[in-house]
C-alpha cells in the first residue's frame, strides 16, 4: 500500500558561517492513511525542520518527499496547488498578518478560493464547534489561551479536509488536560477519518496515543519497529462504536 506521506533518505543541513550543521541525515519515514506518528526530539534536534520538509514547505537537499506517491519537488506548490492542498500544516503561530478580525475569519481563510465567504465562514464555525472551541469564533487570536491557540490552529489546518496533517510541537506549552485533548483529537482524526498524522512533540508522554513513535537526534531518526497500524491498537473512546 502506498503511504500517504513518505520521506526517503532525506538530508538537510544549515550553514552558520563556515560551520555546517547536519539537521536531517538519511531520514526515512512512511506515514499511512489512518496512522498517527509522533517524533520526539530535544530542543534543536531538528523537529521543526523535519515537519517543514514533510509538509512540503522546505525542500530537502537530498532524498525525496512524496505525497500519495508523488514527489513534491517535481510538483512545486505554484505548479500543483491542488496536490499541496492535500497536506494540512498546523500553523501554531496563528495569523501572519493582522487582517483578521475574528478567529472564524482566520479559520475560513483557506477555503476562500473555492467557496463563497459565507460558505467558508459556515464551514469554519462547524469545524471550530467540532474541536470544542466554538466560543472562540468571535474572538481575536491574541485574546486566546495557549490551548485555544492550538485547537484553532488545528481547525485552520483541518478545514480544507486534508489527507495528511503535519504539526510541529502542537502540544508545546499545554498542561496535561489540554495535551490529552489535542492528541486525543489527532488520534480520532486518524482512526475515524483515515487521516495520516505526523507530529513532533517536545515531551515523550505527548506521543502516547501514536501508532509509531520516533526519536530524532544527531540528524538521525530512530523509529519504533513494528509494522504500520494493523488495527490492534486502535483506541476506542467513550461513545465510539467498536468495530
Amino acid at each position: 500500500m502506498t503511504p500517504q506521506l513518505s520521506l526517503e533518505e532525506v538530508c538537510k543541513s544549515y550553514w552558520r558561517g563556515s560551520h555546517e550543521t547536519v539537521v536531517l541525515c538519511d531520514v526515512s519515514l512512511d506515514v499511512h492513511a489512518g496512522e498517527f506518528v509522533a517524533v520526539w526530539g530535544k530542543r534543536g534536534a531538528g523537529k521543526t525542520t523535519l515537519a517543514l520538509v514533510a509538509a512540503g514547505l522546505e525542500a530537502p537537499e537530498r532524498g525525496r518527499v512524496c505525497f500519495e506517491g508523488r514527489d513534491l519537488a517535481r510538483r512545486p506548490r505554484g505548479r500543483d496547488p491542488q496536490l499541496h492542498e492535500g497536506i494540512g500544516w498546523v500553523q501554531r503561530l496563528g495569523p501572519q498578518s493582522g487582517d483578521f478580525r475574528t478567529v472564524n475569519d482566520y479559520v475560513a481563510l483557506p477555503l476562500l478560493g473555492k467557496h463563497s465567504p459565507r460558505q467558508a465562514r459556515r464551514r469554519a464555525s462547524a469545524i471550530l464547534k467540532r474541536l470544542g472551541v466554538a466560543d472562540c469564533a468571535g474572538e481575536r487570536w491574541e485574546s486566546l489561551t495557549d490551548g485555544e491557540h492550538t485547537l484553532v490552529a488545528l481547525a485552520h489546518a483541518l478545514v480544507r479536509e486534508p489527507r495528511v496533517l503535519v504539526a510541529d510541537d502542537p502540544t508545546a506549552n499545554l498542561n496535561v488536560l489540554q495535551r490529552e485533548e489535542v492528541v486525543g483529537l489527532l488520534r480520532r482524526a486518524a482512526d475515524e477519518e483515515g487521516l495520516a498524522v505526523l507530529i513532533t512533540v517536545p515531551d515523550m508522554p505527548d506521543a502516547a496515543y501514536a501508532n509509531r513513535i520516533g526519536s530524532l537526534s544527531d540528524g538521525r531518526l530512530t523509529i519504533s519497529t513494528e509494522p504500520p497500524n494493523t488495527g490492534a491498537d486502535v483506541i476506542h473512546f467513550p461513545g465510539q462504536q467498536s468495530a
Partner: protein, 190 residues
C-alpha cells in the same frame, strides 16, 4: 519492591481469589513486571502477617476439580497497614544499567563500539516505549474523567518519562563520546 502492597490495595478495593488478583495486578500494574506466581507467595506472607484472611467460599464458584475457591479479603489490620504505606514518604529508587557499568570501565579505544551501543539502546528504548503505550491503553483525559482514569494516564506518563530521561542521557553521552573520539583522532592521526 515486593508486590504485597499492590495486592493488598487491590484486595481492599474488592476481595478476590489468587488467579483473579494476579490478573488485576497485571492489568493495573503491568509495568512493574511482577510474575503471576509471585502473587501466591505474597498472599501467603500477607496472611501470615494477619493483613488478609482466606475464606473457602463455595457459592462464589469452584475450581475445575470441584474444590471450593479460596477467596482473600483484607483484615482491618491490613487496611491500616496499607494506609500507613500509602501515605508514608517514598524515596526514589536508584536505577542501575549494565551499559553504564560498561562505560564506566571502558577505555578510549572502546568509544566507536560504545557509540553503536548507545544507538542500539536508544532503539530498544523507543520499542519499549511503544510496547508500554500499547499495553497501557488509557483514554485521553477530559474534564469529566474520574480519578481512576486520571491515575492510569499519570502512571503511564511516569513510565514514559523514565524512558525519555534514559534516551536524553544516551544522546548526551553519545555526543561526548563523539567529541572525545574526534579529539583522539586529531591527536593521533592514522
Amino acid at each position: 519492591m515486593s508486590a504485597k502492597h499492590a495486592i493488598l490495595g487491590l484486595m481492599i478495593e474488592r476481595p478476590g481469589y489468587g488467579y483473579e488478583l494476579a490478573q488485576r495486578l497485571q492489568e493495573r500494574c503491568g509495568a512493574w513486571g511482577w510474575e503471576k506466581s509471585g502473587v501466591y507467595s505474597a498472599l501467603d506472607q500477607l496472611e501470615r502477617d494477619g493483613h488478609v484472611r482466606s475464606l473457602r467460599e463455595k457459592r462464589l464458584g469452584a475450581t475445575a476439580r470441584g474444590a471450593p475457591r479460596v477467596i482473600y479479603e483484607a483484615t482491618p489490620e491490613g487496611r491500616n497497614f496499607f494506609r500507613d504505606w500509602l501515605l508514608s514518604p517514598t524515596a526514589p529508587s536508584p536505577v542501575r544499567q549494565e551499559l553504564d557499568l560498561k562505560i564506566l570501565l571502558s577505555g578510549s579505544e572502546d568509544l566507536p563500539r560504545l557509540i553503536d551501543l548507545t544507538w542500539a539502546q536508544e532503539q530498544q528504548c523507543i520499542d519499549d516505549l511503544r510496547e508500554l503505550t500499547r499495553a497501557i491503553q488509557s483514554r485521553p483525559l477530559v474534564a469529566t474523567s474520574t480519578w481512576h482514569e486520571a491515575r492510569a494516564v499519570l502512571q503511564r506518563d511516569a513510565e514514559i518519562k523514565l524512558l525519555q530521561v534514559r534516551i536524553e542521557w544516551l544522546q548526551d553521552t553519545r555526543k561526548v563520546m563523539k567529541q572525545m573520539l574526534e579529539r583522539s583522532r586529531e591527536r593521533w592521526p592514522k
